[in-house]
């Protein structure tokens, strides 16, 4: 250790927000020491205060937030003693920030160039041409093509990934000592995320910048940080070197969190998730003593339920834990109850999807558009064919714009298909809008929606909405409805009293449960679940998935699970369909998708997924370029514009052929079968794990 003070030292920081009902603490007793060039991750679920910490470091907390205690030393100096002028000089030059939503973070009325140049021109005494040269250099560093064009553009002319690169460049322009990253890739697709994370890592290395990386994703932290602090409800509950936390976490919450994250190498039968029970506490209504107490299996009223728990040093590696009982817990003999499932027997074919197409028409940009001529087409789904059997879970995965949700709408009859057929029983659902379906068909196909805040009508009570579904789907009538509502609430493990609640009184996870209850109100043969848990926190997500799988198995329902999350799909699906820009790239049994031969896109996708498991090593494949728009897809194979295995002159000309492998495994690619078979697995288990101990 040098005698220099650490770059950043936070001591007992407390932040609270003022509301009508009094002060609400958002961050409690936060301690952190960060040396130059070091990277620390702040990880936790929504409302845990992780983003508040980063804004508090900037001393920017809006109108109603304030630092209510503690000190922050930056380069040895207490930040409370900084004048407004000094703070301003610090912001953007010594400490810079990268935000969650790049589009919102950029001024829509200003060119990128102006917004970037502002940074050096404000903080340094340099000429405009010098500043411009540096800006162009940095845009090149963040691997943006054609920087000259970029600086003349407005934010809306760039894609999400490009915008985030611009924000990163903006943060690095004055060569900051400390970089705060607030969920920088949450709004981006996974392949774009992988590229951004790489840039951040490389650049911080190149410029020696210290980082505080705020994220809800353990996998990303493992990829980017040296140390990590796990937060829960405003407190850091465990802190240490990333490897140590992954190998030997000591807090029941951290342990529980790992048990909630689906692992990309295992499925629901071999390694079932074990959800943390209960809900995240509201900031206004935290329990006494340990905030995690009510959800903890080791809770003892005497030890945990009285006073605020202090954080204590657990070992010589600097691992610290906020738990009074960490020394008593015998993790080797702790086996929480899990829902062990048998692999279900798959039944007959239920739905046969053949060559489904969906094309949207957009008004043209050409002068003809004025008179309704020259329409442009967006081919949202093209030639989608697959079948789903009874009791089977079929997953459709892909990034945004791949057509997975559009297909769900066609299947549900919310939008008419433009071609092909979806045969179920004796009916072709592709040409049958929901208004023309019989009530039996309607009851047989139901849907679970993505956004918990949108899935229920905010004006009607939960019970009324479930009851309405029961009646419309013909499951019960008259006085039986009330009984059926109760039984559905029991089914989704919510108290019966909830039927009188308005949706705004429920948490996200509870709303999704109601959504599930509603979908199963009739006798559904097929349930379409469109990203049902992607908006939920990890610990809640696991419980909802568990519930959904239970009900699905009990009712012998076929589940069409639409998701962008490969780990989750790996966990629950029997068969997987990988889509890209409206077309199927690959489909097959889950185990076949996750092992070679891969489609090059699947390979890249797997490589891009952040994995919260230190034992897994990955092949690194970074895709160049951005996701093309569905309005203007590349000719030939849609993936050809980004494919690292592209065959020049073939892939960008013709649609790829279907290559068939055993067990119904299909890959749409120009690469020969033998070549595909030679591919190496993306994941490797590391045998021996080296800890710093």
């Amino acid at each position: 250790m040098s005698t220099n003070p650490p770059l950043l030292e936070i001591k007992n920081l407390n932040v609270s927000y003022h509301t009508r009902k009094g002060d609400v603490p958002a961050v409690i007793d936060f301690n952190l020491t960060l040396n130059a060039g070091e990277s620390v991750g702040l990880v936790g679920e929504s409302g845990c205060g992780k983003s508040t910490v980063s804004l508090a470091l900037m001393r920017y907390m809006g109108n109603n937030g304030s630092i209510s205690g503690g000190q922050v030393f930056f380069m040895g100096r207490d930040m409370a003693t900084f004048s407004n002028e000094e703070l301003r000089a610090l912001r953007g030059s010594k400490i810079a920030m990268i935000y969650q939503e790049p589009f919102a973070a950029l001024n829509p009325c200003m060119t990128i160039g102006k917004q970037l140049l502002e940074v050096p021109l404000t903080h340094e005494d340099i000429s405009e041409s010098e500043a411009k040269a540096r800006t162009l250099q940095l845009l090149d560093d963040v691997r943006l093509p054609d920087p000259q064009r970029i600086i003349e553009s407005y934010p809306h002319q760039l894609s999400g990934g490009q915008q985030q690169r611009v924000v990163i460049a903006m943060a690095l322009l004055s060569n900051p000592k400390l970089l705060l990253l607030d969920e920088p890739t949450t709004a981006l697709d996974v392949t774009v995320e992988a590229a951004i994370v790489n840039i951040v890592r490389d650049i911080s290395k190149k410029y020696g910048t210290a980082m505080i990386y705020v994220s809800h994703n353990m996998g990303l932290i493992l990829k980017t940080c040296e140390r990590v602090a796990v937060m829960y409800s405003g407190q850091v509950i465990e802190e240490g070197k990333v490897q140590d936390i992954f190998v030997n976490s000591r807090h029941p919450y951290t342990r529980g969190l790992f048990r909630c994250i689906p692992n990309i190498t295992a499925d629901k039968n071999s390694r079932p998730l074990s959800p943390i029970r209960g809900q995240l506490p509201l900031a206004t209504n935290r329990p006494k003593g340990c905030y995690f107490g009510p959800r903890c299996d080791f809770f003892e009223e005497e030890k945990c339920g009285k006073d605020l728990i202090p954080i204590s040093v657990a070992d010589s590696n600097g691992q610290r834990v906020r738990c009074t009982r960490w020394q008593e817990i015998d993790w080797d003999n702790y086996h929480p109850e899990v829902n062990q499932r048998e692999k279900a027997a798959i039944g007959e074919t239920l739905v046969q999807v053949r060559d489904v197409k969906k094309t949207y028409e957009l008004p043209s940009e050409s002068p003809l558009g004025l008179f309704g001529g020259g329409k442009r087409e967006v081919k949202a789904v093209q030639d989608l064919s697959f079948e789903a059997k009874r009791k089977e879970i079929v997953a459709i995965v892909g990034e945004s714009g791949c057509g997975k949700s559009t297909f769900a709408k066609v299947l549900m009859g919310l939008e008419g298909g433009s071609g092909g057929s979806i045969v179920m029983g004796n009916e072709d659902l592709a040409v049958l809008p929901v208004g023309d379906r019989t009530s039996e068909t309607i009851a047989a196909v139901q849907m679970i929606f993505q956004n918990p805040n949108d899935t229920l009508n905010p004006t009607h009570s939960v019970g009324a909405q479930i009851a309405r579904s029961i009646r419309k789907l013909g499951a019960a009538s008259g006085e039986d409805v009330e009984r059926k509502v109760d039984s559905l609430l029991d089914l989704v493990k919510l108290p019966r009293s909830y039927k009188n609640y308005k949706p705004s009184q429920l948490s996200g996870g509870q709303k999704q449960r109601i959504g599930i209850a509603r979908a199963f109100a009739g006798r559904a043969n097929l349930i379409v679940a469109d990203e049902p848990v992607s908006a939920l926190d990890v610990s809640v997500q696991a419980a909802v998935i568990d519930l959904l799988l239970d009900i699905q198995a009990k009712n012998d329902t076929t589940l069409l699970f639409i998701s962008h999350d490969l780990s989750l799909v790996r966990y629950l699906a029997d068969r997987i369909i990988v889509m890209y820009l409206g077309r199927i790239m690959e489909q097959g049994q889950t185990k076949d998708i996750f092992a070679p031969p891969y489609h090059p896109y699947t390979e890249a996708l797997l490589s891009a997924v952040p994995i919260a498991d230190h034992r897994i090593e990955k092949e690194e494949i970074i895709l160049e370029g951005e996701l093309p728009s569905a309005i203007n897809p590349p000719p030939g194979c849609p993936f050809s514009s980004r494919c690292p295995r592209k065959i020049e002159g073939v892939c960008d000309k013709e649609l790829p052929p279907k290559r068939v492998f055993p067990d119904g495994h299909e890959i749409y690619c120009h690469i020969e079968e033998q070549e595909l078979k030679k591919m190496q697995p993306v994941f490797r288990m590391i045998e021996k794990v080296q800890t710093t101990a």
């Binding site: 301003r88 973070a105 829509p108 009325c109 940074v119 903080h123 903006m170 002068p367």
Partner: protein, 369 residues
Amino acid sequence: MLLLILRRFSVLVLTMLAMSLMVFAVLETNPEGLARKAIGQFSTVAQRTAWLARENYYVSVSDAEEKVAFEEKGYVTFSVNEGDWLIAHAPEEGVVYPDKKISEMVDDEVNVIRALQVPMAKRYVTWLGKFVVGDFGYSYRYKVPVSKVLWPRLLETGKLIALVLLFMIPLSLLLGVLAGMREGSFQDRAFSFISIMTTSVPEFASAVLLAAVFVFWLGWLPGTSSMSSGFSWAEMVLPVTVVTLYATGYIARITRASMAEVMRSHFIRTARLKGLSRRQVIMRHALRNALITPVTAILLQIPWLLSGVIVVEYFFAYKGFGTLLWEAINNTDPFLIEACAMVSVVVVVTSQLIMDVLYIYINPRIRFQ
């Protein structure tokens, strides 16, 4: 971008056509009533028919074929199609045809003369055609062609509106920006209260109240603004103040809301965390974004301003477009009413076009699509 303007322009032309159709439908479908309005409640049927024939509402018998028939037989028969209008009346009323007295052309045995109305569609086209070339017809109130009174009056109103805009725009934007800059501050609440007060006092009320104070009690300003002895700034003060007051509050409220929203947005946070000063953030980042909405609102406000101007002109006897319209209506001067209505349509639609262009210009999200 040019395309966008072109598209908007075609929509506006369509709007204008539809509006003209509406004005036409409201005022011109009943020629009898129109004639009554033009030459008076107590005119005879004959006089009205003559007027209508002269104004080309009826087909005149001068059409060659019918003239021959008339000369041969002494009367005319028309073929009547479904939907045509028939004006029929007894001969003793002395119906007059364009150039001959009825007694000269009516056979004793024929006691009904028929005049055929020109088809509506054809009339609309000629009517619109005349408007396009600036022929607004004749004003029976002023005994001159409408255009002779209309243009000078419009100019006067233009002066009034120009002055109002001159004061209103900076005032309302300033008020709104200052209020929205710090949401919930004292300055915000004070300015918001002023805005809501001024929008709550309608023009006729503020005219009365201001006139009572400045004319009756203080005697500082003249109570009428008829400009009878040439243009006078003193006479402009009250009318301009009254209209400005009402409009300012409205625009200031819109500006405040827009500014407050921008100040809450993430890119303002970005700018602050870049290390810019509050002043720089507001001048460089907030204003441009915050002013998009109010600028368009100001131009959308023009139809409302026109309403306020009518009230104010009427109250202060200002000889502008508003009083002209009021007089036209009170004296049922049909062509003048039509002209006023059409002119306001043109003014409004033009201001909308300007607004569209301006909106496209100040909003890069639309400019560079």
